[in-house]
């Protein structure tokens, strides 16, 4: 195994991760492109040392051919990564068209929840007020009966 190749993989992955963590969509897409390269090289690396291309020249293998399977896998993954990255790019483009900016937005509902609310279930509050009276927290007093009367004229 080649240390250089392993270092290239690590470098591509690190660069890709750094870009993916940014807020601009285009950089994220580019980051995935780098990550994809890293992953494909890694597959190849898993096949072992460099060698002769896997072509059968005569009647059979002569030895020294490089492991063909990781290449086939990498071929498939290149295509898939390409398709997905392009789709992401189209999405980024659409997003830019709509918003005039290519920064990822935060989720609005999440932000709303994150701003701590004080209001709570309105129904519950009403019931509690009524029942607390019944329990006597406010003593025998306020009109309760009509609230509970299910038969209103």
């Amino acid at each position: 195994m080649s240390l250089t190749l392993a270092l290239v993989v690590a470098g591509l992955v690190a660069g890709g991760v750094f870009l993916v963590l940014q807020r601009e969509l285009t950089r994220i897409v580019l980051g995935f492109a780098l990550l994809g390269h890293g992953a494909n090289l890694l597959l190849l690396l898993a096949g072992g040392r460099a060698g002769r291309a896997a072509f059968i020249e005569g009647d059979g293998p002569t030895g020294g051919e490089v492991d063909p399977l990781p290449q086939a896998l990498a071929l498939t993954s290149i295509v898939i990564t390409f398709a997905a990255t392009t789709l992401l790019l189209a999405l980024a483009y659409r997003s830019w068209e709509q918003r005039g900016s290519d920064e990822v937005e935060d989720d609005l509902e999440d932000r709303r929840i994150a701003r701590l609310r004080d209001e709570t279930d309105a129904d519950l509050e009403e019931l509690t007020d009524v029942l607390a009276d019944l329990e006597g927290d406010t003593g025998p007093g306020d009109g309760v009966a009509d609230v509970h009367g299910e038969l209103r004229p």
Binding site: L25, I28, G38, I80, L88, L91, R99, E109
Partner: protein, 495 residues
Amino acid sequence: MTLLLSLPVAMPLAGAALAVLAWRHRRLQRAIAVATLGATLVLAVVLAVTVERDGIQTTQVGGWPAPIGITLVADLFAALMLVIGLATVLAVLVFAIGQPGSDDDAPAFHPVYLVMTTGIVASFLTGDLFNLFVAFEITLTASYVLITLGGRREQVRTGMTYVVINLLASLLFLMALAFVYAATGTVNMADLVGRLGVLDPDLRLALSLLLFVVFGIKAAVFPLFFWLPDSYPTARAPVTAVFAGLLTKVGVYAIVRTQTLLFGEDRPSTLLLVVAGLTMIIGVLGAIAQDDMKRILSFHIISQIGYMILGVGLFTVAGLAGAVLFIVHQIPVKASLFLVGGIVEHSAGSTALSKVGGLVRRIPFAAGLFGLAALSLAGLPPFSGFVGKLALVEAGFSAEEYPIVAVSLVGSLLTLFSMVKIWNGVFWGIPEEPTPELLATPGRLHTPLLMNVSAAALVTLTVAIALFAGPLYDLCERAANDLLDPSAYVQAVLP
């Protein structure tokens, strides 16, 4: 058995190709889609019956013996998932066809939907780790398209999150595959069983955990689920329904498959149980914090995943049987809840609890469906969720894992709480006057028949699961037995 295993994978693809060729002939596309999925479902049922009778079925694609070629394998677990998954996919398709103004209008919908089905089927049936990656990619890429179909701004924004996170997971998966290949020289799962066994345990654990993280992102377990509730609710109802019902479960399926088959010897059990507990509780707390029906339901997806992981974490026959039963019950329940959400949206124009109310009067049938499915989700008897919960509780107690059972019961109560919250907010209360916009759209106050029918079909399926829980549990137990003892699987693939 070649036909039974091959056709479910290839037929939806052929259907997709025809649907692409039938571009813009919507009726034709619908007919193709329904016919293809219907036929595939029938095949899946036959396959399940065969597996039940004759044991694990395999076929070697291309006629190349494993591990040279790719093997398709159906054990009981896969067959169960296949049947229930396809039934759900078909019901949701009918809903999409019945929903006016749905994504069904886009010419890309049907082909993409069919391709996604292929991906799901292949994920369940493949016996090859790299092919599983491909199957995932098929499913995911199709889901990227479905979630953004229509290109509305909200969809694009959340679709972005969805795509980016899943793309990252895919690349991690690819790297994991490279490591697995580097260590073993094969990607056939049955072949891997023996080759992983001779590895250094630490290395094996590292591989196992990397794959767990990868599938955990897709299955939406803590702390990898944050993307899900942001992205699911913005898609149209049928899309969300099928995502909610199936896509996360494909991730769970992969977790179960890899953890039992490949890493059965040194499973990270305690870690799994902790993850399960956190997933349940954080998920359901998220649900409680929400004020929108679809968002509440989305958080519930996560919470319920925790129960499945609990079963896996116990790693006993009873635990896995419970997990399998739980998954089987979750798929239609979750999908039907989102379909009812679609009906609510259709007839009230919103799913925000603050904006709708009293719908039990306007759409009593859908309300009833919701009630049944919600009680099932909350694990109340006599519905399917109860049987699943009971199985997990019994398994947990048997394994003497008391804390996690307690957590799961608390989670169950909180689930009930948020289901009641939806019920009180959406179906009870003072009905909101229909907005002028709704009144202006003809037919909005009336739910199209197909929408009700498909939601009802899924609810019927859950009721059937409850009704026949006895034999079904026996099947799950057998499936769990097979999962815990991979020798039959290996034997079937590598004779």
